[in-house]
Symmetry: D2
Subunit: 366 residues, 4 copies
């Protein structure tokens, strides 16, 4: 079942809660002999780390990763890699007020309905802190891809915050790391800053759209039915906290197109097939085409807000709730490195799965 | 791995190609003692059957299901149920022209790139004919839900064809079966008919949006991380042919909302918690809340069209392609019963998974 | 979950009952482009077919396999291969007498206790007829091994019937196909014939020991903990009807040995490491060593016998039972091709799993 | 694939090496609300702990378990339980001599052949230290069984050391904890002590046979084909280090029996069916019958011995090896609590699996 595991042959299992001693990921099925150090994984964790701007939670976690197994003398051994991150700043007092109330829009109530209990300190497994473990696993996946499929590069960014979209004709990917929003349009980033400052002050929060693009992915990854590359990407992204929609290529907009518009016409380039457009988002019939793989998803606004909302208590009494604590006004920002990590894991998983099944079999074109 | 299987404990595996002798689904993990007959499954297959209006493919398949195992004296035995459907109208001649050309927007090219071969007769496993097997599996899931969770009802319909949306304030669910589009807004259905007639005559095709709603689903199905109910629904829907985006509740629109707008406030009703709205689409933190589960997805326009498109051949020569054959001008229409079937399978799978893990444990409210 | 599936990446799912219309196996994860014909699979089914001597059931099944999917123009497509075998000689009348009685030593009672029903016609899924589907799947595995790992050969035979062992110093593998018992010691075969004739006439049955040897298996298949090659072989063999014990190499006898006796000393041969003995049965720490893989298992005597045994009815009344029908006096005989098939499937599964994870990484010796 | 995970719905994943910082198990799928404390798990770890007599390794590990997640306020939460054990006494110097040599009968050579590397400090994942993680997972399984199926009790013991069997007619289960060998026959224990002292002094080691019995297991656990209870038990036991054979009930001896001897005749007792004998070991057709479940397995003698053995180096040079270090002269002794743990995990896994699939469906007898 493995309801806390993800992946087919490159498979990770995460453990840990927001307010326990720590959390971690066990990465199973990693190829042996891959050079890796904690520093390499730490790089990606630092990207996700809270408290780096006023637009993310002020919880101060160093998120230092320890590699407790599976790496020997600087190389993966092919056996389980345990990546552990200790919690250092989990002040439970912030949560005492919400002990018996359910936050609207939050997993509090469903967690209670399912398990008959609730980790009122911080959401237990429904806390976005679990995503640190994914980012660590993604760091390992990136190290492996670097060696086995060095052409692959993965880049995520925000394309929308609340009602304000970034402008694609203003995109400059070099700008992504220069603002607090992983935004390739620096004018949009400025507008978002103003918008979020206002929301935050009024005790409110905003949704966002994240896009992740993988370049240089070999053609042939995925399979035609339930092992579709896009089905796995959809599950991967939808499993990230607060995600309510996932798109591949044109996404929901594909409904508006006609067949002639949507067909990415094919020509023959010097290195193989070339496509006149990429409405498909790099995946046709569940299998990668060699084009850029484009995934996009919407993150809902944080449910833990300072504005009072009507709710009930565990005893069924009606009441109001105000969530203090230290919450992200826009969780979409920190979802960017998480989504990149999930993309890396899905691609490597399918790379290894394909290598197992098809070996070097490939249909030659031209 | 099971790249042709779906589900955790209620798990089905499909086999068969568009132009082989037939196709089928093996349903594993079905509870024993459930009353079922072929007729019950056939009902749902008939809903999906091609050739019922001029808006779907004119291929004439009776799609008669045979139950070859797992049912004895009218009841499930708890062992694998094999549901087989023979192909009767697979005229391969229609495909001879496209033997060496790749249809733009179609899996032809990626199938070739992965496997080094191609079933040029009709797309092999990438044909939407595979979805008949899912509908059959979904029929079994419905029969089980009817007995174990009789409150559950599942209903799918189209909300958009091309650029023309149905109007929610015109929805009348009783109208769904009275038009060729499973549309609850009969005025929209009329507009779609005109729109599709025009497109079809010009050798073109249209995308669509499908929505599936499950009512009466018990709270507590799903789990907080990778076994999220919505992650499995996303994978389920994205695994349907031509789907490019999946939404739960507000979906992509969640990005535009603020935290105060998005919070579905909670009050105490006579039978338990009640919610002021359902932006969440019935799932909070991956677990069902007891509200309606709302899933929506976009289907791209059919790639097999009569309008000529630029492409290449297997030999790498540039050329044009016109796809004759008998193709759906809007595959979204026939995706409705398929999506309902996937919803039924996901819900039952999580119902059984939850019954295994939590038994009768439940958090009481009030 | 997949309680009717076997394997990790080369994975098959079987369906069908002894007295239904037929049975089959869906083989998933098969590499594409492998030459295969029904005739090749049929060869192995013929080896298992009942009624070939008076020492196996007199049920007359032709066991003709049909390949209904996954093979196109003589080659595997990489998609599910459905191998179907129709039941032709399932006379239910033979079973009418035992409808309400449980055969001692048989699954009748536990099937009833679990599922609350029973396929009294012939044991449902607990019938050894299910093994025909495994033999078909094994035929596919053999075809793939032939192409990917042509050094591999698999051979099974009986080493004991009842209390009479075959003599290893009399083994001549060329004799295996020349007697009714797949026995490499033709003198033992003669003794078994006399012994079984006597038992059969007295309405009794006998157990047996089967040994399967795989030669030419590459070193490096398997993994050190739960993915051990021997753990998978143990599960594979124990899943065959009537098996009560499984041994690798020395097996249970390993308990009697000292460390000095058991250590297979290593020297360096012209093509790599050589071992002075093979107490390990070709597997060290769950991973193949390149030596012969030796698996052995015991099959209990058939429970369906003509001698009256005390039992109870479904209503709890005490009674006696005599099983008429057409049953194997020694099911071990027909278990030989089944065990060979399971060996082929396990080896190919681990070959593909290893190719996925480690690619061409290998530790060079010398 | 999960080559480091075990189980279907109650599923654990282990990590860690003999000579790294520690090891652990992530238990997934555990029911919520089960009372558990570290002390309860520790009890079983203490039973396995090394250095408790001169017949086990003198390595001094406290094997203190920490519960790092999944338990809140003394009860399981239904989310992953991480059980971590730090290594405290891993002196790598003992291993320096064997850095480049392969121990005959040990995984050294196959590990190298597969992964192209080797953790020469102590065998990496092939070390029996991994079994501490299983014992911890088994502790959780026992706590759950205690609440959900309190009738179940599990007891393991040694029945043979080297060539010396314990005598069944001398069995007194109360003696098991009173000698260093978990032996129910205290005279045999005395003979084993003398035998092992002699072997140990001569730099040699011995094999053993372990038997585990589960009483009070409800009828109906398991399933008829690949999800057989005995197939999972066989995989479970065969996955324990050094195990070369696994038996259920009569085991390999079943081959010697006739059908009349082997049939456990059934009568009707006050609480349900009763059986005249238990040749079946409590499992018929892969499903528990309510009788005692009896599993037995052989452990080979330790390969790490002081007597010199011929071997080769990584460079392919022939040499001799003497393994100093601190090794168990009879690893069978410490396999007892490991086998009990695996039995607990398999039984709980099938209990939950069965509860999911069949709910309260059961065939009533009488």
């Amino acid at each position: 079942m493995s309801i806390n595991s993800f992946g087919h042959v490159f498979r990770f299992t995460t453990w840990g809660e927001s307010h326990g001693p720590g959390l971690g990921a066990i990465v199973d099925g990693c190829p042996p002999g891959i050079a890796i150090e904690a520093k390499f994984v730490q790089h990606w964790l630092d990207k996700r780390r809270p408290g780096q701007s006023r637009y993310t939670t002020q919880r101060r976690e160093k998120d230092e990763v320890e590699i407790l197994s599976g790496v020997f003398e600087g190389r993966t051994t092919g056996t389980p890699i345990h990546l552990m991150i200790r919690n250092t700043d989990h002040r439970s007092k912030d949560y005492s007020e919400i002990r018996d109330k359910f936050r609207p829009g939050h997993a509090d109530i469903t967690y209670w309905q399912k398990y008959g209990l609730r980790d009122y300190r911080g959401g237990g497994r429904s806390s976005a802190r679990e995503t640190a473990a994914r980012v660590a696993a993604g760091g390992v996946a990136r190290a492996v891809l670097k060696q086995l499929a060095p052409s692959v590069s993965i880049l995520g960014y925000l394309t929308q915050v609340g009602e304000i979209p970034a402008m694609r004709n203003q995109f400059d990917l070099r700008k992504i790391e220069s603002n607090a929003f992983w935004c390739p349009d620096d004018q949009a980033a400025k507008r978002w800053a103003i918008y979020l400052d206002k929301l935050r002050k009024s005790g409110n929060s905003a949704g966002a759209v994240v896009e992740v693009v993988a370049r240089g992915v070999p053609a042939g990854l995925g399979s035609p039915v339930y092992g579709k590359l896009d089905a796995d990407l959809a599950a991967a992204m939808m499993s990230i906290n607060a995600v309510k929609g996932v798109e591949i290529g044109e996404g929901m907009n594909a409904a508006r197109l006609t067949g002639t518009e949507n067909a990415d016409e094919i020509s023959m380039g010097p290195c193989g097939p070339e496509f006149a457009a990429n409405h498909a988002g790099g995946i046709l019939g569940g299998i990668s085409s060699g084009q850029e793989i484009v995934v996009r998803f919407a993150v809902k606004p944080t449910s833990s807000i300072l504005s009072p909302r009507k709710t009930i208590t565990v005893s069924g009494d009606e009441t109001e709730i105000v969530t203090k604590g230290r919450h992200d006004p826009c969780v979409g920002i920190r979802a960017v490195p998480v989504a990149e990590a999930m993309m890396a894991c899905v691609l490597l998983d399918h790379y290894l799965l394909d290598r197992g099944q098809t070996g070097s079999t490939r249909g030659k074109i031209g």
